[in-house]
Symmetry: C2
Subunit: 208 residues, 2 copies
């Protein structure tokens, strides 16, 4: 688990700062932002209570760094070059969902903080994280709208389907366990197929 968390932070941060962020992820995921003290975070990294303030002015700044770097990592994961054939919207959707889901499964602990603890941020920081978050539906919207336009997908309500597909990827951070039956990649492929089914079905009688 430690390795997955540690890889989120990037080389621009001092090793001690990275250790503090990793400890904070574990604390926030277990006890919530409000239930965690700066002492918990320092102690979890094997440091003295004052050590945190050398690197972060406040606990909120720790949460912000986790949210910023977490969201950027997820965005980078779905923006990897790969299946980008504009004439294959189903392949692109499958790839996008597979990557989004696999990232969230692999990083389910940090992702839980990124999804459920944002109320701890200042309003300026909420605005900054919201700007990154808006990129995710945009990526899915582009692919699904293309598929509908090309007649490859059913004429679905794109915005609502995007929200549903994002929910599949996000809710798994609540229940995913690495010792369960699915690896992140297996779950990603399974959900990729479900997403393609969602845009390939006959519109139901109760749609509206």
């Amino acid at each position: 688990m430690a390795a997955e968390i540690d890889e989120l932070w990037g080389e621009d941060l001092a090793p001690v700062a990275r250790a503090l962020l990793s400890s904070a992820v574990r604390c926030f995921a277990a006890r919530g932002f409000t239930g965690t003290t700066t002492r918990d975070i320092s102690g979890g990294a094997g440091l003295s209570p004052a050590a945190l303030y050398v690197h972060f002015p406040a606990k909120e700044q720790v949460l912000f760094e986790i949210a910023r770097r977490g969201h950027r990592s997820a965005l980078a994961a779905i923006d990897l070059p790969g299946c980008a054939d504009p004439d294959d919207p189903a392949g692109r959707l499958r790839e996008l969902v597979a990557r989004f889901v696999a990232w969230h499964a692999r990083h389910h602990v940090a992702a839980r903080v990124c999804q459920y603890e944002l109320a701890g941020l200042t309003s300026e920081h909420v605005t900054e994280i919201a700007a990154i978050r808006r990129e995710f539906p945009e990526r899915f919207r582009a692919v699904i709208a293309d598929g509908v336009e090309q007649g490859v997908f059913t004429p679905v309500d794109v915005g609502r389907v995007v929200r549903a597909v994002l929910s599949l990827g996000i809710d798994l951070v609540r229940w995913y366990r690495p010792d369960g039956p699915d690896s992140p990649e297996q779950l990603g492929r399974f959900y990729a197929d479900l997403a393609v089914s969602m845009v390939s079905g006959v519109p139901g009688p109760a749609a509206g």
Copy 2:
């Protein structure tokens, strides 16, 4: 919002106890279980700090009552008599998803507490709530397995599809807002159609 929360508690509780539970839902949803004091809960119900202890021995007992009554309410909502024609698995699945989703949208504030704050429970209470929670996948599993057996649905991996359908209904408590474009019932019908699509698709090339 108050009306939706208040209707969860039942007539067996004194009005003051119900008011305390409703206040606690709002506090826990906004600040988390750990970030809420018993004084916050009493104050939110317009009562003195000591009033809570007349009705509940501890803050944890308040969370437990919310979780127990919340989960039972959701289960009662999906178990209403209605579309139960054993020869129409698609209709039964549609009805089940529509009810599950509509309940979670209507009660998204209380449901957020029921989904994201269970870590605040004692292990005895976790066990008791987990027993109610297991009923939900059972309901979906029965319908989807029937549909697969009757050949009405694609031979999907029932357990994984159940988890995905539950995720659609649960994740919406994170983002649903009553002033958004969808009423609980509209969202329920839309997700009902998505669920039927999920079990009607051609199994994808990457399934496994």
